[in-house]
Symmetry: D2
């Protein structure tokens, strides 16, 4: 390749400046010649704002990277080396419904592995599969780097229902866990290594190392002694120390939804009453960010973006693209085809696991059996993801109901049906597969 | 063998007359020379009542089977061909606590795969493992037929923590499902065949046949059209038709606890307020049964026993013993070592699955992958069973907490801890492994 | 079904009278209304002879089974309930080459799992796959019962390269082993049960039972003390007693090719010089049989057929069809989809294993891991079968070479190439897939 | 660790100077404070010669590494961080018998995966297991790095029959393949990466990369066009181009024994007649090396050592120790516990596979299914290794016979018995487990 071409679908996202910053920083080793930011016509205002900022950033940095805007991905894709997707079908408004409607039934929405995640998946997967078809035709050698949520379900769908094999799903949870552990241990993050394994937003740190020496016990001690680790967007409700000691592995922040369901539900209801749901908080934040981005004097990523909750996302993406392009052989946790790395999960399913990243893609480091106590929960989310992906593709009402009813956050088939009916109606515009009239 | 010797541990159980009836009916093909009913000294009154009835039944039937009573299993075991266990450590009083204490925390007790089941397991497993040691020494060729609940967890423990390999766990749920399906179809039960697979009280009918023709769809239709199937001891709250249609397999009655958690909880709380818990209902029923048994005129199994909820249990046991003894090669659903029959469950774990029953024991009919939507729940109960069995053997507080916290009926680690602490205290007398003082 | 329709492709085979006898014997329970014998026009003389005998047999027996002859399977298939195939593409002449050409290179031909088997497979598989396509169209509910050799490779090909799922491969080796064991033990065959597992012509008796009691050790003792078991068509060269004692399981007669390669080769070369190859012996035998069949007085299966080496084949077929039709639930060793029953073999590959035979087809009894010492050989034949099946379908020279070179009877890639080149030429007429001209 | 302690058992080996050179080169990053060379008293002369050379090398290099000699490993082991073993029980004389005796029966000896390897294993495994016991007691935190052959069988035995888990088996075949590929491509070796997977001396290069781009096809083309790759100690007999094209993966030099058995046998017989067996050639070479080593002026590794056939062995060892000590996270092919990395091989068995090397040991990069055509051969060698390891531990004659009879190089159970009997007698002094008298 003489200069790399990257196409970012959903380029109008508020995350984009971080991505641009990451590409600028790495320019010497990762010479991106063209960066295409693609969005839908409805997102024109945002894309123009973000695009203008990106151009100012590139100019200020003095790197010969061309930033191009487009509202037609078919125009952008030909010749792409990497395609990243960061789409949000239905925008934050839809996400607000994903979270709020279940709450009406005393059920946590949870926009990835919960009921909200089902609907996010139903809206997102058909769009991603369409993108896959375009990639297949227009840039068959490109790598598809997805960081649209629910990333696990989306990767599952790409692996099972498209012809794209060069695909990786990305998440910022593992890198966030590593940062938090480093903070707890008061060391630089690059001295910390974690053996990650599980599914997206259902990933565990099986062992934690500092400079290669195992420190899992020490980290778990700190975790339950108040020096807790959490993501910016999930409140910390503490863990029972004996539970974590018995678990012997590091949970991710999202595990609270399953191991502290009652407390999380209470918290979410409280917040919904006070400040609005997480989606509403984010909506407000987004508004402020775009105001900043519009400032023609701004030519760097504004520090406020780090408040957004998606911290490290774009950095993870740049790092992954760099390692593929430069065949670095370093280890990164990504969503990829299991192929047997985690025992008990089908070979063709997506898992989130440490991989050696090469020009030939991610090669999972073998995990084997997950610890006994967490096998069940991981399998349950995998059952959910697979059933949900099937529902997204078929548009079958019963399959969607089944996905919802088997979700561990949903208390019964009847509540599942109530939520399903209300949600289908609410998202009708974005779920054509469920409403096609056969004439 | 010239005449078979059967030892029934927990012989004072109210179920025993059914077992005796079963042996009498089969005498020609299954010539039991000695039937030892063994119980603990505290159960003397019951054992004598049941024993006397058993003797009257044998006499009336005119079969040369000798019924012997004993309060010392070491006296009874030598030379045994079959040992059956139907013990209830702590009696129905303990079961009442298993069910009631969790309800105080808005959690279903569920005496097999729920929090109640954990405590039943913690009390029962050490006793069963002691029995295993005695069998190893005193009658190493005997088959251990366990129908003490929680039968799945107990079989898991015997397979992993004893040297006994000739063991089978029995449950009346599959036979009950077959009876219910026969009733729905208005045919004789022996024309119905069901492909059973799963775990104890977590078993599914993967396919249903009538005279060898598959009728699964027809049965599922009836199931959701009001002609529902349920066990006597679990109220029928109905299923959402679309859910069952999507599931495409026949759930067992206990699945309501997981797929209708909210409704079952409401129901259990209501009943607890009204008539007392299921345990209390059963206590009353037991009392009435023993009054009947005391009647010196009674020399048959009284029909009221069928109300008890354990219908078909003893019949299943007799049938199993008969098929082993006579090398029948017929198919029965039992709890046995998986050995790979169900994909994704460890080889050495217990599963409930259709087996060909031979003199050499049960040979599982291969299942392969369970349907995607149920894999997760089955794995979760297996994680629970394995962690619970470990806690029962080690007496480790943290492991018990972990078992409880990962149970799908428990909403958080904190509630798990609260229930655990109250339950450990309540069952203290029966859980020495958790209260040993190291001097 | 009101009267069953069976279509036998390759109906002119000398085995057919045994099949007809089997159907007549079972008529009451297996009421076959129409038996179609189908063959290719080149086999007209044989089919007419066999067909006439079949009609005389049916008439003498007084059963209302109609025997119909056809040279066009498309005429015969519509409405069929069972389709059996017993074809021999290239006839015994081709088989003679399968055996003789490898011998020129000091390599055993072995018409199933050896180099001869590769060529038999290359000739047979495309024809069988064509039959599958016709079944799919003309009688989609029919069961395909294949007893054309190499039955393992053919079943593998049907499972992987056709849409037919209702298929079973049949072999007379297991039933022959059972008969031989019965003879050794001087008991009736139906008192003997063997746990069969492996591949076609590579099947082991893992355990042997007499009246349900394990007698494996006793049988192995007899096997190595001169009272040996063998098939009529494989000479008995004896086993080293210590080898069999260490193996601890019952080999099948074909195992001699792998565990006594040098002796078998010497023997085959000697026989080839003396009486001609096995194929030539069989050719002579066939000639004599057809002379017998032509006798218009003959109205039963002539006893001489039992000399033919295919003893029990047709009986196994009738028995299988009977058990499927009548949903018997008895146990028979057949070639079927592994689906995980034997660990380490892909789920979608064919294995030969004891199955419960039901209206819904064979359900494998779970095996788990094969004994360590035989795992390797079994896997090697499976690698061979899969590569050979691929070569048969693709007609790719290199793939065929690879299949031959990895066969355990072939000493090098160079000898493989020599044999391949000579064999391709010799069988040119029957291997169009290797000789298609692309214009 | 403040300065590393390495103990090399079999320190008198002619390979030792290479090891010492490797440690000297890496001193800055791998500060070895003490290097103990341990040997048996019978090897005193060699150990003193090698030890003196090692001391001169260290002195010349000016590094503060102390070289100590010992004839008692119990004196050397306490406090060791790494224990390497390079023992040869029975010396080259025994190896000569391993190779020659089978040749008398027209069977290739093959000192690792062939009949010779069985005997090498029978002699070596008990000694290694004794060393394991000493490590367990005297330096339980040490890593055991084994490069005694047969390294696969030895690693299998350590994993299954000792309590040592920190163990790695090393082989120079993969590094040799990489060097040869680099030579073919005329590039520096560190630009070549190969995905290795299989067993020791049965390892395949699944994919070959140059600077991260796959070049497998190109390498296979060169391999069959005369620019062949081979080890110094295995003659190159060429490959059939179509065979390698069909295989699509890179074989290792030892594969010739299995894919070109006849040619290799002829070659070995020829060489045995001319120059003596490979063992005899090596004996002569060793003699010359020790003459060189005795030269008091020599203070570097003499270049002639590279002729010895063990090229890269010690370099691989130093590199592995360095990566463990420094937690490098680089990729090296080693023999380690499979744990599921290669599908179809038991979790607890040894495999040779690319691993990420960390302070916590090697973490296999997941492989999944091996290509279909090679699965069988790999499984066959694994069956052989497991059965051989069992024979080494139990000293059971029948098990040893079984191991030999299932080896793909052995043509029959009878020849197996003949070789076994002659070999047991020839190696009697080193096989006490087979000759213990029970009084």
């Amino acid at each position: 390749m003489s200069g790399i071409k990257v196409v970012t679908i959903g380029g109008g996202s508020s995350y984009t400046p971080e991505l641009v910053e990451g590409f600028i920083k790495r320019y010497n080793e990762l010479p991106i010649k063209e960066l295409w930011l693609v969005d839908i016509p409805e997102g024109k205002e945002k894309l123009e704002t973000v695009g203008a900022l990106a151009k100012r950033m590139v100019k200020k940095a003095g790197v010969p990277m061309e930033v191009k805007l487009s509202y037609d991905r078919k125009e952008a894709l030909p010749g792409a080396d990497f395609v990243t997707t960061q789409i949000r079908v239905g925008l934050l408004e839809a996400r607000a419904k994903d979270e709020k409607i279940p709450l009406n039934y005393d059920v946590i929405g949870q926009e990835t592995n919960g009921p909200g995640g089902l609907f996010k998946g139903l809206r997102t997967i058909p769009v991603i599969l369409d993108i896959c078809k375009d990639i297949e035709t227009l840039c068959p050698n490109a790598w598809l780097i997805n960081f649209s949520n629910p990333a696990g379900m989306v990767t599952e769908a790409v692996l099972r229902y498209s012809n794209i094999t060069k695909t990786v799903g990305l998440c910022n949870v593992p890198i966030g866990m590593r940062m938090s552990v480093a903070e707890m241990l008061e060391v630089e993050p690059d001295r910390v290594h974690i053996d990650f394994a599980g599914l997206n937003h259902m990933v565990f740190g099986l062992r934690v190392y500092l400079d290669g020496e195992e420190v899992t016990g020490q980290v778990l001690d700190k975790l339950t002694s108040g020096e807790s680790m959490t993501m910016k967007n999930i409140v910390d409700l503490g863990w029972e120390p004996e539970f974590i000691q018995a678990l012997q592995i590091l949970p991710c922040p999202y595990h609270r939804y399953y191991y502290q369901t009652d407390k999380m539900l209470a918290q979410e209801k409280k917040e919904a009453n006070e400040a609005g749901s997480r989606a509403e908080v984010v909506q407000q934040l987004e508004k402020e960010l775009f105001e900043l981005y519009s400032d023609p004097e701004l030519a760097i990523k504004p520090p406020q973006l780090e408040e957004r909750g998606g911290a490290y996302y774009s950095d993870a993406a740049c790092s992954l693209i760099d390692s593929i392009y430069n065949n670095r052989g370093d280890i990164q946790p990504v969503n990829t085809r299991n192929n047997g790395a985690i025992a008990g999960i089908p070979a063709e399913s997506a898992v989130e696991v440490n991989c050696v990243i090469t020009k030939d893609g991610p090669k999972p480091i073998h995990v084997g059996e997950l610890p006994v106590p967490v096998q069940g929960l991981v399998q349950q989310i995998k059952s959910f993801e697979r059933t949900a992906a099937e529902a997204a593709v078929t548009g079958d009402y019963n399959t969607a109901l089944l996905a919802l009813a088997i979700n561990p956050l949903v208390p019964s088939d009847t509540v599942a049906k109530q939520i399903l009916d209300e949600m289908l109606e609410a998202h009708k515009a974005y779920l054509p597969q469920f409403f096609q009239t056969v004439v």
